[in-house]
Symmetry: C2
């Protein structure tokens, strides 16, 4: 039986680091050559990293990425390589936009550039803005010949539509489909992808290799999990999730019947003789809670590492959000890289310090206790005249939170390390957070994690080694900014709040629609207004890991000035 | 001579406020009826406000906007109205995006909806994301008959391309072109627009009416300046800049030769008899410096008003940025709505308090002096242990700036009023600003104004009544966070910095390209690195008025994690 040895380089690349990415690609090309692979796949826009955003608008950036492509083409050997890059091209758009480049896949082999494919379907929804940058590629049915096998190459979105470019390639005679990706993670995405890809391979009747990027890039986490399907749509191999991996699979080719299709020759060696080697044991996907946990670790870890920080600084309140944040940081970066800081005030419970200290000891992280009273008292003194005859209110509460934020930033400024904010998605959605206070930080690891999911993740993590004190999990949530304060003074209980937020924020459901599902109207209306009125806070929030179909980042673009629903 | 009496409702609408906008539209329809106008034009997406961003993804929002359209159609009379709204439609896109609605213009008359035009060219660059929301409209050559005149209706971008939908309409027999807009301001935009529109009318040989929105919406300012051109491309009328205006013009129609084109009838009254009335005196455009000043006033004013704030709180340092910010605020909102706060520290020059007091007196705004020493000392005390044996550095400087930020926010929390940040574009570009310190605020009026332009605006404003103390203009810029600090300790002089930033930030030029223009290489490289490395600060910055082709807002989308140029 004929087979194609297809290698995959599921790499963790860095946006903008053209030289570094190119070195990584060349190393993997040499590895694939040693493995006698017929072809090796690299992720979408591997040379530039993905998504390069407005770097693509710089002509020097395009030029540098094309120089890099020529460098690696010169290094190519008998193994053909499919490498994502930004290609110049005469744009053809139906509007007046400036896009004149393509999201492209180069085919290189034998020391040269053999061909280029232009992505045909450009996602422009959710977190994607590809119409902003790229012109639509038109390569209907174009095929490449690799060692006598007719290959259809496509890029990411191209495969998501049943009648997209790969369907044309199959119609033209493709014997295998190769699809390179920068496909970001969200909860449940892996199984959606597997189902879609299996269906594409099955209905095409040819094998399909899906190669994905891995790693964190600002708010996005690419989960890897590259997959290989046979011509029946059965999964032959799944690569690791959230980790780099180099792999190869001998992909059996279906019986070649009929004419040899017209294809541009990429490489003209011989296929390997003998029987295909069976694929390595496939990686099972993580169970959902662990998967989310791993996504958070990779997102935070890569943000910290790729931005050159030596460690993180985290304010520990004794509550569950900061405890989980510190735990994720310790797991992602190592305990040595984490500094926990408790900053008690006159309103802090004794538990807040003790539980924070216990957490720090369990994790083995550095721990500081810095009282917030001196600056808080200083603020009250400075404002004494202006605040004369006024009642104590949220102004004083926020001053405590802002004193803490400034202390964390001072530690960061003095000793290095990035401040990681601890707020969760439920709080951020309704604005139950102090801008420039507890929202301070360069990254917000739980920004897309609802409060109920925070609990679930904490319990899951404790089952794998108890680190978060049980009292932290059991105590009622509180900001501790005034005596006996509880979150439920201002918000519905989280097991009621979270489902409403999921409908309103993630599903764009209206108040009326949510009420029809059985929720109390005044509660829903109040929550919707809190969400709408706090857009200004989210606009100034730190980025955080996206784990849902709609995070509070680039995939949710609402006006601040907004008269709807008032 | 036949003429069409075309009215324009250059309104300041509110995004999301469907009910309020609809009332405003109905009022203007009644006014146009009284003026015996044949047709009245409203801005692009008048019913929803522009740009509605992700509100468009909510099905309830679409439904509410269509209900509003039917309400106002029912109120229409003999004057036909062209009203922007979001239409449902079967989307046809070349990718898998979710867009299923159209950016549309309704034609209403005689109590009903007579027709709908779908925008054909969707801008998806700069600040525009229309591919995210809208399907491309296909109405080649569609014409509307208004009182016997064949009319071509189009929306904004449609007219910017020489062979866009209006060209088809002219080919089909349009005797006049009506184009409705939500066209944002940037420096120089008005003359670009006038030149383009004049050319369109001239080459089409038919008159052209361009109706624009006016008002501020988050970062965008719509400048109004609606224009009417005759069939030779000569300007008949220009409406006011940065102000609402209802106007009408008797637009002479070219000799009707040849066949009556096929057109859908919108209204079937008679044109007015007699000679056209001459248009009112046209508004001359502002000279550039004043135009920018007016844009800043409208942007800030509308942000404050439309978000329901009673006033603003501004930290006054004695420097030119805060002085100009307070002056703009007083001009935009009235002196009573502005509270200036000076917050001296041990490093403040005596001038900083005196000059701030003089400015406040000149403007007639409220003025507080609140010393920053008590909280600053409190921070140093709290951090004494942690900072033991360390050198004084930027950590202590930032604590002063953050103490000031927290005081401003406390005043806002206690008394209402939005904090307006005072940083300029030069500082924000290179990150010469303290996150959570002087960057604190809900809006940043000078965010897109370079330092050199700050001086120009200040001098211009003083020529129209001296309010900014001369010493504030003359003193060397300083953050006053350590003894004898000057901006030039950390930055090149602004007359060198600003041209480099303009090339690097606004034009996306590379370091090499800028160096070739004669700038010192190490300076350019250092500035480019400062810009790139401070993306994280800008991501957490307040929005501000856009006045250039590339502000530091939605029109500049760079990754934070970015290995390019390192």
């Amino acid at each position: 039986m004929d087979f194609l040895r297809v290698a995959g380089a599921q790499l963790n690349l860095v946006v903008g680091d053209i030289d570094g990415n190119t070195e990584r690609i060349i190393d993997a090309m040499l590895w694939a050559e040693e493995c006698q692979a017929d072809v090796v796949l690299f992720p979408e826009l591997a040379i530039t990293g993905y998504p390069p955003e407005d770097l693509v608008l710089r002509s020097a950036f395009i030029r540098d990425n094309i120089s890099a492509l020529h460098r690696l083409a010169a290094r190519s050997g008998e193994t053909a390589a499919v490498v994502g890059f930004v290609d110049r091209g005469v744009g053809h758009r139906d509007d007046a936009g400036p896009a004149r480049v393509h999201n492209a896949a180069a085919l290189v082999a034998g020391g040269g550039l053999r061909g280029v494919y232009h992505k045909g379907l450009l996602p422009n929804y959710g977190v994607f803005d590809e119409d902003r940058y790229f012109a639509v590629g038109e390569n209907p049915g174009s095929l490449w010949e690799i060692n006598g096998v007719a290959v259809g190459v496509s890029v990411c979105e191209d495969i998501w539509v049943p009648d997209g470019p790969p369907a044309d390639q199959v119609a033209a005679g493709a014997e295998i489909l190769l699809n390179i990706n920068g496909s970001p993670y969200h909860r449940g995405r892996g199984s959606e992808r597997q189902q879609m890809l299996s269906e594409r391979a099955r209905s095409a009747g040819v094998p399909l290799v899906y190669l994905n990027l891995v790693g964190g890039q600002d708010e996005l986490v690419f989960d890897g999990q590259s997959m290989v399907f046979d011509a029946s749509g059965d999964l032959l191999y799944r690569a690791a999730q959230f980790e780099e991996e180099l792999f190869w699979v001998d992909v059996p080719l279906p019986e070649s019947g009929g004419d040899v299709p017209t294809a541009l020759r990429v490489s003209d060696g011989d296929l390997l003789d003998g029987n295909p080697e069976p694929p390595l044991a496939t990686h099972d996907p993580f169970e959902e809670t662990e998967e989310i946990y791993q996504a958070l670790c990779l997102g935070l870890g890569d943000y910290v590492r790729k931005n050159g920080f030596g460690g993180v600084v985290i304010g520990l309140s004794g509550g569950i959000d900061s405890a989980l944040t510190a735990t994720i940081a310790a797991d992602a970066l190592g305990a040595d890289a984490v500094r926990g800081v408790t900053m008690p005030s006159r309103y802090s419970s004794t538990g807040s310090v003790e539980d924070s200290r216990a957490l720090a000891a369990n994790l083995g992280i550095a721990f500081d206790e810095i009282p917030v009273e001196p600056p808080f008292t200083g603020f009250l003194e400075a404002l004494g005249g202006a605040f004369e005859l006024t009642e104590v209110d949220v102004a004083e509460q926020n001053l405590q939170a802002r004193s803490r934020g400034a202390i964390l930033m001072a530690l960061s400024n003095k000793f290095g390390g990035i401040v990681v904010a601890t707020g969760n998605k439920s709080e951020m959605s309704v604005g139950y957070a102090t801008l420039y206070g507890d929202m301070v930080g360069g990254y917000a690891v739980l920004k897309d994690v609802s409060k109920m999911l925070v609990y679930e993740l904490a319990r899951w993590r404790n089952r794998n080694g108890e680190v978060i004190p049980q009292r932290t999990i059991d105590k009622p949530p509180s900001a501790e900014l005034k005596p006996d304060q509880k979150d439920t003074d201002s918000l519905p209980p989280y097991d009621l709040l979270d489902p409403i937020l999921e409908r309103y924020v993630e599903d764009d459901a209206s108040v009326d629609e949510i009420v029809k599902e059985g929720f109390d109207e005044s509660t829903v209306r109040r929550i919707a207004q809190m969400v709408d009125r706090n857009e200004y806070k989210r606009r100034q929030a730190a980025p955080g890991v996206r784990i849902t179909t709609k995070s509070l980042g680039r995939d949710r673009r609402l006006p601040i000035t907004n008269g709807y629903g008032d």
